[in-house]
């Protein structure tokens, strides 16, 4: 599997570290919304198909990337810097969804 790092170009998957589901939103550090924290720590979207996920180019430039990958075929559909993609929120309407 090759992942195209925006800095370094296409590199072998062994240079990258998987950081998991990219849809999770980290609550504000001072948040006491337990549902939001639980969702952040434990809940994962686990689709069979296209998956929005975070990888770190730990054996290269060390940038964090947002990667859309198909979990059945391992096709990489897009990569971009995760920077700016991290939203902070403390007011998810229903907690875990």
């Amino acid at each position: 599997m090759l992942i195209t790092c925006p800095y370094c170009g296409p590199r072998d998957v062994i240079e990258f570290t998987y950081q998991g589901d990219g849809n999770r939103e980290r609550p504000q550090p001072a948040s006491q919304n337990l549902d939001a924290w639980n969702a952040y720590v434990y809940d994962r979207l686990n689709p069979a198909g296209d998956h929005n996920e975070i990888w770190q180019h730990s054996g290269g430039c060390r940038a964090h990337l947002r990667v859309v990958r198909n979990t059945i075929t391992h096709e990489i559909l897009s990569t971009e810097f995760a920077r700016g993609g991290h939203k902070s929120t403390d007011n998810r309407a229903e907690g875990r969804s």
Partner: protein
């Protein structure tokens, strides 16, 4: 149910083996059942067997999307053990071990259970201390455990490199003598036959495509072979849990599906008379009765629904094997395959009523599902029959993550790829 006996073997041998009954029927699904079990793997089949045997519930269908043995029950490395640290896990897996010890007799089917032991190698003094602690924890709960010296390990596994010049010298190990291996296919076939003979319908090539509901309650499933109603719908679909739960409208679970690879070498004369695990990486090996070395290592480490693995892990597993057994460098690998593991956030399984009314959930086996097969089915059948958990599976709830009651044997936290 004694179809297999010395007498029946002799009789059928003389009659040209033409009179054996099929091990299970191929029934068409009925319109409704008391219980539908989705997933005809080891856990689904053992659940059906114990529902019929222990609770007298025989109006049961097991729905399998492929053929029996096509999923994880035919894709594992056959190891059976109960060497855990935390009491919730130890009690559960020890119950499984006791069922294993009588399984061939109980099923009248030879599952080739072989108590050749499971030996965890230690490579640092701290690791040896940690294994001593785990062994003590096991013995407190009545499970067998022995701390072995290097000399004793060397006598059991002469091919192992225990010299001081090894990349990771062996300092000792934790042995569970009652652990071992079982023939995984025979486990599926034996449970299938046992359930079938008690009236359970095993429906192959029947994929669940959706859930039937009455209000909020699950009342059946739609499948590629039509709609089937049931009072209770139980899921035992291992790595496909995320996919099937999404059909029920639950998109988020404390689960990630990962692929785990396994390998078999060409047949050799006996060199590993136990299940051996490498403490410095993640590698385990045993030798099948045919002589092939059966071994595996880490997960690929990212979400996957592909039943095949990637080359970096092949490379890693082989190098870890050579760190232990330099003499195996020229042994040829025959085949490799991948199975789907539904990895939970604490590395422990989920056996529970719910999470929807009318539904029962058995999942999250990480990559330890095979050894759990008997106890998983036994506890799940209890939970389905009585609508409450047995004492043994009461800790394995779905909401333990949100209540702060996680069962994290490895202490890795909410990171599935590390369990």
């Amino acid at each position: 149910m004694a179809e297999y006996s010395a007498f029946s073997l002799l009789k059928n041998a003389l009659a040209g083996n033409k009179d054996w009954k099929p091990a299970w029927r191929k029934p068409d699904p009925k319109a409704s059942y008391d219980v539908i079990i989705i997933g005809g793997g080891g856990h689904g089949l053992s659940t059906a067997y114990y529902l019929a045997k222990e609770h007298g519930i025989t109006n049961v269908a097991v729905l399998e999307k492929g053929w029996l043995g096509s999923g994880n029950v035919g894709r594992n490395t056959t190891a059976v053990r109960s060497n855990y640290l935390l009491p919730q896990n130890t009690r559960f897996y020890e119950h499984s071990m006791k069922l294993w010890e009588n399984l061939s007799h109980d099923l009248n089917y030879n599952v080739m259970f072989s108590q050749r032991g499971c030996l965890n190698l230690a490579h640092t003094p701290a690791q040896l201390d940690d294994y001593a602690r785990r062994g003590n924890a096991m013995r407190h709960l009545g499970v067998d455990a022995e701390l072995w010296s290097v000399d004793r390990i060397k006598r059991l596994v002469p091919a192992l490199d225990v010299s001081g010049s090894a990349r990771f010298p062996v300092l000792g190990g934790l042995m569970q003598p009652r652990a071992g291996t079982a023939r995984h296919d025979a486990v599926a076939w034996g449970y299938a036959r046992g359930a079938d003979r008690r009236g359970v319908d095993i429906v192959e090539n029947c994929e669940v495509t959706g859930f039937l509901r009455d209000g909020g309650r699950i009342t059946g499933v739609s499948t590629t072979r039509g709609e089937i109603r049931a009072k209770k719908v139980a899921l035992a679909v291992a790595g496909s849990t995320g996919r099937v739960m999404q059909l029920a409208g639950i998109s988020h679970m404390p689960i990630e599906s990962h692929v785990l690879q396994a390998f078999v070498s060409e047949s050799l004369k006996p060199i590993v008379d136990t299940v051996l695990t490498f403490g410095m990486g993640h590698f385990y090996i045993s030798q099948s009765d045919k002589g092939g070395l059966v071994y595996g290592g880490d997960l690929d480490g990212y979400n996957s629904y592909a039943q095949r693995g990637s080359l970096p892990i092949v490379d890693e597993v082989m190098s870890e094997m050579l760190a232990l057994f330099p003499g195996l460098a020229r042994v040829r690998m025959l085949r490799s395959w991948g199975g789907l593991c539904d990895m939970t956030m604490d590395g422990s399984p989920i056996i529970t009523t719910g999470p929807l009314p009318g539904m029962y959930l058995n999942c999250g086996w990480c990559y330890g599902g095979f050894k759990a097969t008997p106890a998983s089915g036994w506890c799940f059948a209890y939970t389905i029959a009585k609508d409450e958990p047995h004492e043994l599976n009461a800790p394995f709830t779905l909401d333990r993550f949100y209540r702060g009651l996680i069962i994290d044997d490895k202490g890795q936290g909410a990171n599935p790829r590390l369990h």
